[in-house]
């Protein structure tokens, strides 16, 4: 019984943890891109990396104040969006998809290259940039707090509070935008660009605005991730993260304000639940013998199980948790 409780406590912590914030922010951005505008951005992790390294490079490499680092990160995301969007947004959706995934990888390889060592720290990455951020914390950073049975450090609590505040503000902004005439144009572009053009809407400009807005959410996510881990390493920003964020978005429901947030929370809850559950089951007094599943395989097998769960979801509830089935089925005609 105690073991079941332990598993639940660990999973609940993951439900609210910094990784859930990171994915929620990335998925909010992807929701703006893909869910509302129909842009296939497969390079969201590139935006996140620019956010994280924006702070890290400004503070650690150049000794600038923390606030400047945040601005640099946001500005870098805007420039990255312009760089990606200018050549591709006039073309069909698939071109953006290819360019974004390539650009995110190029960026990562560039940051981890040996010649970039003086600036990015290459494969060792950068650290020691989060001091100013934690100095602002109202919680005692070294103290431990017990919430719902889970133990949180003051640092964790601070980064998570800031993170969820950002998520809440982001959701508010998306909600306000999507119920406005601007949101109507954005959704019209998702449905049919040419129809929007024939009604006098500058589709290119709207797509660019959407790409920038979603990219900023990605950068904010990357900042939270870098601050939570107190380090920025190019290899933390692998392309697989983009696809996990997509999974969270689809799980929650696309084109719904809360879809990406709830999706990310549930996604991390499930990952933590399967992992800690399997660890218990394969442990010394577990019921799964090591011949079937050894405890070293748990980290891999949890993704298999969560993947199976996602497939089941898409078969039985293709609209995600918040989606409208009728709306999804319109496409099938």
């Amino acid at each position: 019984m105690q073991q079941v409780l332990d598993v639940l406590i660990i999973s609940t912590k993951a439900f609210f943890g910094p990784l859930a914030v990171f994915y929620a922010l990335m998925a909010i951005g992807l929701n703006v891109h893909f869910g509302y505008t129909g842009l296939l951005n497969f390079g969201q992790i590139g935006f996140a990396m620019l956010g994280g390294f924006g702070i890290a490079i400004s503070v650690t490499t150049y000794g600038l104040p923390f606030a400047v680092g945040v601005l640099v990160g946001l500005l870098a995301a805007v420039l990255f969006a312009l760089l990606l969007g200018l050549p591709t947004l006039r073309l069909r959706a698939d071109y953006l998809a290819i360019v974004t995934i390539a650009a995110a990888e190029i960026l990562r390889l560039l940051f981890r290259s040996v010649s970039a060592t003086p600036i990015t720290g290459a494969t060792r990455g950068l650290s020691g940039f989060s001091g100013d951020f934690y100095a602002l914390s109202p919680f005692e950073t070294s103290a431990r707090y017990t919430i719902l049975g889970a133990r949180w450090s003051g640092r964790e609590l601070w980064v998570v509070s800031v993170g969820w505040t950002l998520v809440a503000l982001g959701c508010l902004a998306v909600w306000l935008l999507m119920r406005s005439p601007w949101g109507r144009v954005i959704k019209a572009i998702r449905e049919d660009e040419d129809a929007a053009r024939s009604l006098g809407k500058n589709v290119y400009a709207y797509k660019m605005q959407s790409l920038i807005l979603g990219g900023i959410f990605g950068a904010l996510g990357g900042m939270i991730y870098a601050l939570a881990t107190s380090s920025a390493n190019p290899d933390q920003y692998q392309s697989a993260n983009t696809f996990l964020a997509y999974a969270a978005l689809i799980l929650g429901g696309t084109a719904r304000v809360l879809g990406p947030v709830i999706g990310a929370m549930i996604f991390w809850f499930l990952l933590a639940f399967t992992e800690s559950g399997l660890v218990e089951l394969t442990g010394a007094d577990g019921i799964i013998p090591p011949e079937i599943l050894s405890s070293t395989d748990v980290a891999q097998i949890r993704f298999v199980l969560v993947g199976l769960g996602l497939m089941t979801l898409l078969i039985f509830r293709p609209q995600g948790i918040f989606g409208d089935r009728r709306e999804v089925m319109l496409d099938a005609r």
Binding site: A173, L176, P181, W182, E191, R197, S198, L199, G200, L330
Partner: protein, 315 residues
């Protein structure tokens, strides 16, 4: 009523039936427009004027370049050369949304209903100059709420006129083909256009709905709009247009009032092929007969030779 309109009050009654003829008050003027796809000349129009406040039908066999001309005029395609103006303002090289903002709005051959938007949202999208369409102002609902209510009232009015008001809250993707055509036309009207260009508005619409669509098109003229439309159904063209322009192989081959268009030799040739009705002369008949006989003789000779060869072959 339409016949009366075109016979008595049409500003085009004194215009001669010849290609490139000048109209009394043209809204759109096209000059030397060419568009080629590789070696194929899709559109090559030397001079064409569309009369303001009239319905002009654009007809022609498949591949005549009607839709390409539409795409060029509305900025959806780039011409290789040429000039065209609306109210004297040059339209060439303008992107589609700028053309639409000048008041030239089009519909599409394959209807573009925005499936996952409600019918009402489809309509409201059509209004131009909306303050809330700017990203920053969108965040402050006070800036656009008043205008939004006006737009919604106008949308509801149009939906009633097009008898779509009961579908207001439905996804546009649930509408039938004909209803989508109606929606697309109504949506185009939301921008209060000066010129409406309809690409095959009646295609795939059942006869009952065709009548109602026709009435709506005539309504546009009553409201002073200029209408240009592409259509295949000659009855429809005769019924509603004040002037007909015929295209074939990228060129304008005839233009005239609809009553006389079917007597035009160029037009009949374009649709049925040249010389389809010229009687054969005696010499021509003899020639055709001789050719046919020659073919038969050659075949027989070949057959006989084959048989001989088979007979000589040892068993």
């Amino acid at each position: 009523m339409p016949a009366e309109f075109s016979m008595r009050t049409s500003p085009l009654r004194d215009v001669a039936s010849q290609v490139g003829v000048a109209k009394p008050d043209p809204a759109i003027v096209v000059d030397d427009v060419t568009r080629t796809f590789g070696g194929l000349v899709a559109v090559q129009v030397e001079h064409l004027e569309f009369q303001r406040g009239c319905i002009t039908g654009l007809i022609g066999p498949n591949g005549a370049g009607k839709t390409t001309l539409f795409n060029l005029l509305t900025g959806f395609d780039q011409a290789n050369s040429g000039r065209w103006t609306f109210d004297g303002k040059p339209l060439a090289k303008l992107p589609p949304h700028r053309v639409a903002r000048l008041g030239v709005v089009r519909t599409f051959q394959l209807t573009k209903a925005l499936s996952r938007l409600s019918v009402l949202d489809n309509m409201m999208l059509g209004a131009t100059g909306q303050r809330g369409e700017s990203m920053w102002r969108a965040l402050l609902p006070g800036m656009w709420r008043g205008q939004e209510r006006e737009v919604e009232d106008r949308a509801n009015e149009l939906l009633e006129r097009f008898k779509l008001d009961t579908k207001r809250a439905d996804f546009a993707g649930t509408l039938s083909g004909g209803q989508r055509k109606l929606l697309e036309m109504a949506r185009a009207l939301m921008s209060q256009p000066k010129v409406v260009m309809l690409d095959e508005p009646m295609a795939g619409v059942n006869p009952a709905l065709t009548q109602s669509l026709l009435e709506h098109v005539k309504d546009l003229r009553e409201q002073g709009m200029t209408v240009v439309f592409v259509e295949h159904d000659m009855d429809v063209v005769r019924d509603i247009s004040d002037w007909v322009v015929v295209m074939a192989a990228g060129k304008v081959i005839a233009e005239s009032p609809p009553e006389s268009i079917s007597h035009n030799k160029e037009v009949v040739d374009a649709y049925l092929g040249a010389h389809h009705d010229a009687p054969l002369t005696v010499e021509e008949e003899d020639k055709v007969l001789a050719e046919a006989e020659a073919v038969i003789r050659a075949e027989r000779a070949a057959q006989a030779e084959a048989l001989d060869a088979a007979a000589r072959e040892p068993l």
